[in-house]
């Protein structure tokens, strides 16, 4: 029987873990470099504001009106006209090779139909293999054509359109992708890094046989779990600050909310994520297996089912139900709220509470798994 918990023993476990970490210089370095690299890569590379889409034109009308329509496309920054086709059949090989994304086909008598009161049909052939880009490209094309049509038709008659939609975007006025990606990424990176740091630490001891030694000491399982967690919590919190700083300074993501609330929510989220990593580590006992489990348990849900890039609301009901149990989802909502909306505890308190619960759950899980294995 072991006696009551002792802070001294807990800190001793932490000190041992720190020694391990300091000996493994590269892992320690990567623990700080990886989050920064991920934020930079995602922030720079992922962009939903698609511009300079390559397109070709097959103009059968060759009239003033058809040239004006093509001009409308070229003068927008969304499209670059790279070629004019002489035959309809030329469109296919271009799309096949991926040389252009869209082919605009203007049939004969376009101008005649337009001045006769329309509707004058035009055709857009779009490479649908990347559905997302295709959807966006079509939306841009529609916008350009609609604007052109109202200029062409209304301009002559001087009538205002019956309804205009006056759109304003809040929180992310220019619809910058990085404003959406970076706050979400902080959550994803934390989940991955946390699980990566801890998922091996207990499995390693099992593999090397040092777990037996640890078990024979008077250290209580709770002390092992908390002691092992502490150094990684420190690393994780530094990572949170580094990624937040990169987002704010390099990507100019506005930080409008409460810093204290941000740090608090991150703290509990990290505790939960580290706890899950420890639980995986204790249960698998093998580093190879721990890695596979950790990747599936952390990277996948926090990447896909968290609303990081894909709205949970658009998913099938079964996945939405699963997504209810993905902690990263709540953390992402909270972080975006703090960064972009500038809302604080008055709005986000349920999320703060959720993070605290997740932290407690992670610790409980880790302790349980560890106790069970150590018997």
């Amino acid at each position: 029987m072991r006696n009551a918990l002792s802070l001294g023993r807990l800190l001793a476990v932490s000190r041992k873990e720190v020694l391990h970490l300091r000996r493994d210089r590269r892992s320690l370095g990567l623990a700080f470099v990886l989050p920064a690299i991920m934020v930079l890569a995602f922030g720079w590379v992922i962009s939903f504001d698609i511009r300079h889409i390559k397109m070709a034109v097959y103009d059968e009308d060759r009239s003033q009106a058809s040239r004006a329509l093509v001009d409308a496309f070229t003068s927008s920054s969304y499209f670059v006209v790279t070629g004019h086709l002489d035959r309809y059949g030329d469109a296919e090989p271009l799309l096949d090779r991926g040389a252009v994304r869209l082919v605009l086909v203007i049939p004969p008598r376009f101008q005649a139909r337009l001045s006769g009161g329309g509707p004058a049909p035009v055709q857009a052939l779009v490479d649908g293999s990347d559905a997302n880009t295709a959807t966006i490209a079509l939306a841009y094309a529609r916008g350009i054509v609609t604007a052109y049509a109202s200029r062409a038709v209304l301009g002559a008659r001087r009538v205002a359109p019956p309804v205009r939609a006056e759109t304003r975007v809040w929180y992310n006025e220019e619809l910058k992708s990085s404003n959406m990606i970076v706050p979400g990424l902080i959550a994803v990176v934390m989940m991955i890094i946390a699980a990566m740091l801890t998922s091996l630490t207990i499995a390693k001891e099992w593999e090397r046989g040092t777990m037996e030694q640890l078990a024979s000491t008077p250290v209580h399982p709770v002390e092992v779990v908390f002691g092992k967690l502490l150094p990684y919590l420190g690393i994780g919190m530094i990572d949170v600050l580094v990624t937040g700083f990169i987002g704010d300074v390099i990507f100019a993501v506005p930080f409008r909310g409460s810093f204290l609330f941000f740090v608090g929510a991150s703290f509990f989220f990290l505790v939960g994520a580290l706890g899950i990593g420890l639980a995986i580590s204790a249960a698998t006992k093998s580093q190879m297996l721990a890695i596979q489990v950790a990747m599936v348990a952390t990277y996948l849900p926090s990447f896909l089912l968290s609303g990081f890039m894909f709205d949970v609301a658009n998913m099938p009901t079964a996945l939405q139900a699963i997504a209810l149990f993905v902690p990263a989802r709540y953390f992402i909502t909270a972080v975006r709220g703090i960064f972009l909306k500038g809302v604080g505890p008055e709005v986000l308190w349920p999320y703060g509470l959720g993070m605290i619960l997740f932290g407690i759950a992670g610790l409980t899980l880790a302790t349980r798994a560890f106790k069970k294995e150590i018997g």
Binding site: A120, S129, P162, M288
Partner: protein, 386 residues
């Protein structure tokens, strides 16, 4: 057959298939000793495929919409109906005051709001027209962008329609844009993403299994034992990689079968070509994994180094974000990325039914990079074990 202990440590003559076979047997036994590992090789790829198939969807549906209707006329209700019946929007609440809208957006209860002003119906037929206010929550930039576009289009169309019915002298629709999507007529994201999952799984499995395997031996101390055995470095590497080749190719078959049979992803090209390209891509993944393994001292190091490569490779490969949409510098950088060629290759075969005539540049790149990386791994291995 195998040379005796006297040969150990010297250059061993010849290349022995028997030694390789024994090494493969040892590896497989070690890998599957834990029955949970078996499940990990089948479960996660399937889970990933299914989650990607269902979750990755960038078109919008049922966007949570708040309405503030100050007009309360037949026309204003028709506008709301037009939005909801499109399937893109779903009204979650009707408000009376603007600050309620602010509140709903702040809490994330609504993602878009429509404010119809007083006198909307009357304005429709007037010469100056009328306007509605659309507020979009921009935190999800992509959905916001698409939702805003649809809202605009629906409002404009309905406006013309209503005005015409009210008897205003409204011009008919000027130009009618008819869209036709090639290769993927319904514009389903799934058809684009699911074949690519094969690439991600091969990369992930290949990297994680190989990068750990040599380091593990080093950590436990059994690498020394292997070194004093008559195994040559090339044999050791073959023994380490062949099991992983089997596993990743089996996973590829599994993933392709589920993609075609369950997700109805069109498979328009040749299976033989798919298999050939995949094999060379597997080599690239294994080579990279072995290089990581050769320069790492602990499994922890190997695991973290693996992620260091895995994420940039995944993102720059055009896995979810097409390379063509990236800044130019990263498009150039992605030329070094085997995943980029493999994804173009897989998507070309599945969606476009392209053959060798169209895909030879990608295949060539894979044929160069795969064996090249493996060869590099062998030389690294020589140095570290020497």
């Amino acid at each position: 057959m195998t040379p005796g202990a006297a040969d150990a440590g010297r250059p061993r003559p010849g290349f022995s298939p028997t030694r390789v076979r024994e090494m493969v047997r040892k590896e497989l036994r070690q890998l599957f000793r834990d029955p949970r590992m078996k499940r990990m090789l089948i479960g996660p790829p399937l889970i990933q495929l299914i989650v990607f198939g269902y979750a990755v969807n960038t078109d919008i549906r049922d966007t949570r919409t708040a309405v503030l209707d100050r007009d309360r006329t037949v026309a204003s209700r028709q506008l709301v109906d037009a939005l909801t019946s499109s399937g893109y929007f779903k009204v979650v609440s009707y408000f009376e005051r603007p600050d309620e809208i602010v509140n709903a957006l702040d809490h994330g209860r609504a993602a878009i709001s429509i404010e119809i002003p007083h006198g909307f119906a009357a304005g429709l037929t007037s010469a100056r027209g009328t306007s509605v206010q659309v507020l979009v929550d921009g935190t999800s930039a992509n959905s916001a962008n698409i939702a805003q576009g649809y809202a605009n289009l629906i409002v404009q169309r309905l406006g013309l329609d209503l005005a015409r019915r009210a008897g205003a002298a409204v011009p008919p629709a000027g130009v009618d844009l008819r869209a036709r999507a090639w290769f993927n007529p319904d514009l389903k994201s799934r058809a684009y993403n699911v074949p690519a999952v094969a690439g991600m799984i091969i990369m992930m499995m290949g990297l994680s299994l190989t990068s750990m395997s040599v380091v593990r031996e080093r950590e436990i101390g059994t690498l020394e034992q292997l070194m004093v055995s008559p195994l040559r470095p090339a044999e050791l590497i073959l023994g380490k990689t062949l099991p992983v080749v089997f596993i990743t190719m089996a996973d590829l078959a599994l993933v392709s079968a589920v993609a075609i049979l369950w997700f109805d992803v069109p498979m328009r090209g040749s299976f033989l070509l798919l298999f050939t390209g995949s094999l060379f891509f597997v080599f690239a993944a294994l080579g990279l994994g072995l290089i990581i393994s050769a320069v790492s001292n602990t499994q922890q190091e190997a695991f973290m180094s693996m992620f260091f490569f895995f994420f940039p490779i995944l993102i720059l490969g055009g896995f979810m974000f097409p390379v063509a949409n990236m800044p130019e510098f990263f498009q150039w950088l992605s030329l070094l990325n085997p995943l980029r060629y493999y994804l173009e290759f897989v998507r070309g075969i599945f969606l476009k039914g392209a053959g060798l005539a169209a895909l030879w540049p990608q295949l060539l790149a894979l044929v160069v990079m795969g064996p090249g990386l493996l060869a590099l791994a062998v030389t690294r291995f020589h140095k570290t074990s020497a």
